[in-house]
């Protein structure tokens, strides 16, 4: 499902790139690779708002998400409204991911690597995960951005390149070392 939806949106972006002006196409391409270079003060206000609202919602539904990880039936038996919790989680997710992506473009692997690393170190409790994923994600972005700006001076490498090069091996290592990182602390 995710792959199919992703394919549709990738195709849409491809179509848009083909029909827009050259300047717009360049900004689409810039956004596709992701960059922290063009962030303005207004951007920071916007992303702070979506991050805070998204994080508060995620924090509120964390106990339900813990129960949901035991399976839909068990969560329901424990009093969780499964469909509503999923919907609220989707709203929180959209605010957090959408806010970030609309500001800095799509930076590969941060969203995938940060929660996995946090779960690996701090366990599966979602309240713990929200705080530590935010810290680890921010650290990964700052380190990757610093490397992207300094490795090939005076040129700046796309930050997505660095996060992929850093994030993918970390993820592979975790999966390999611990067999299944979803199951371990």
């Amino acid at each position: 499902m995710g792959i199919a939806v992703s394919a549709i949106f990738t195709a849409t972006v491809g179509l848009l790139s083909a029909v827009v002006t050259r300047a717009d196409a360049r900004s689409i391409s810039f956004w596709n690779f992701g960059s922290l270079a063009l962030i303005t003060r207004e951007n920071l206000v916007g992303i702070s708002a979506t991050a805070v609202v998204g994080a508060v919602i995620a924090w509120k539904i964390s106990p339900s998400l813990d129960r949901l990880s035991l399976g839909d039936s068990t969560a329901f038996h424990l009093g969780v409204n499964v469909a509503r919790t999923r919907l609220i989680a989707l709203v929180a997710l959209s605010l957090l991911a959408g806010g970030a992506v609309s500001t800095v473009g799509s930076i590969a692997f941060i969203g995938l690597a940060a929660p996995h690393i946090a779960r690996f170190i701090y366990g599966p409790s979602h309240r713990n995960l929200i705080i530590h994923t935010a810290i680890i994600g921010a650290l990964l972005v700052v380190v990757a951005d610093t490397l992207a700006r300094s490795i090939a001076q005076p040129n700046e490498l796309p930050i997505g390149l660095i996060t992929s090069l850093l994030g993918a091996p970390v993820l592979i290592a975790l999966v390999t070392v611990k067999n299944n990182i979803w199951k371990t602390r």
């Binding site: 106990p63 813990d66 990880s69 035991l70 329901f76 424990l78 599966p124 602390r185």
Partner: protein, 195 residues
């Protein structure tokens, strides 16, 4: 008291239970016994509010489980599944405390020594006991257990049966599904056979 009135349940297009009526007395242990595929787990799921009968009604006291919100229903009935599968590494204590206090029930089910173990590292019987303990920790007037004795050794079986008896004496309505090869059901107050 749990009352089933002319209940018909269809699952995946197949009629599992047809026009079935039964009364399950409060404060007792009722055992539903039968072979694989006889519909005993389906009946338990319907009492738990997981499934809606296409005909007839199920009531716990004067409440129909399928008509009330899940949070309210969780205060009335608790259920332990037969094949509980834990995929994330919560500890035994963390899982049970998602339902309520853990200490007493962990002692009763011999889980105290495993309190800080990750559930993903437990044996089948231990996982089942964690699921049972979680349901009991919910402290509801109705307790539904699907094959709680299936993967247990003699010692654990005895403990589970004693705990069910203690809960029933204290007023809990315990409904247990067991496989038909379960020979001795002397601990049951009522046995339902041949759905």
């Amino acid at each position: 008291m749990i009352i089933l009135e002319a209940v018909t349940i269809v699952r995946d297009g197949r009629e599992i239970i047809c026009d079935y009526s039964e009364q399950i007395p409060a404060g007792s242990i009722t055992v539903i016994v039968g072979a694989n595929g006889s519909g005993k787990s389906t009946l338990l799921a319907a009492i738990a509010g997981d499934l809606a009968p296409i005909k007839g009604t199920i009531t716990i006291g004067d409440i129909q489980p399928i008509l009330i919100p899940s949070a309210q229903l969780a205060k009335i009935r608790a259920m332990a599944l037969q094949n509980q599968n834990y995929t994330l590494g919560f500890t035994v204590k963390e899982i049970i405390e998602m339902a309520g206090d853990s200490k007493e029930v962990m002692d009763a089910l011999d889980l105290s020594a495993l309190a800080n173990r990750h559930v993903t590292t437990l044996s089948g019987g231990e996982v089942q006991r964690v699921a049972i303990a979680t349901a009991i920790a919910q402290k509801t007037p109705v307790l539904l257990l699907d094959e709680p004795l299936a993967a247990q050794d003699i010692y654990s079986r005895k403990r589970i049966i004693e705990l069910m008896q203690k809960l029933a004496e204290a007023g809990t309505t315990v409904v247990v599904v067991v496989h038909s090869n379960e020979s001795e059901l002397t601990w049951a107050d009522k046995v339902i056979e041949g759905l």
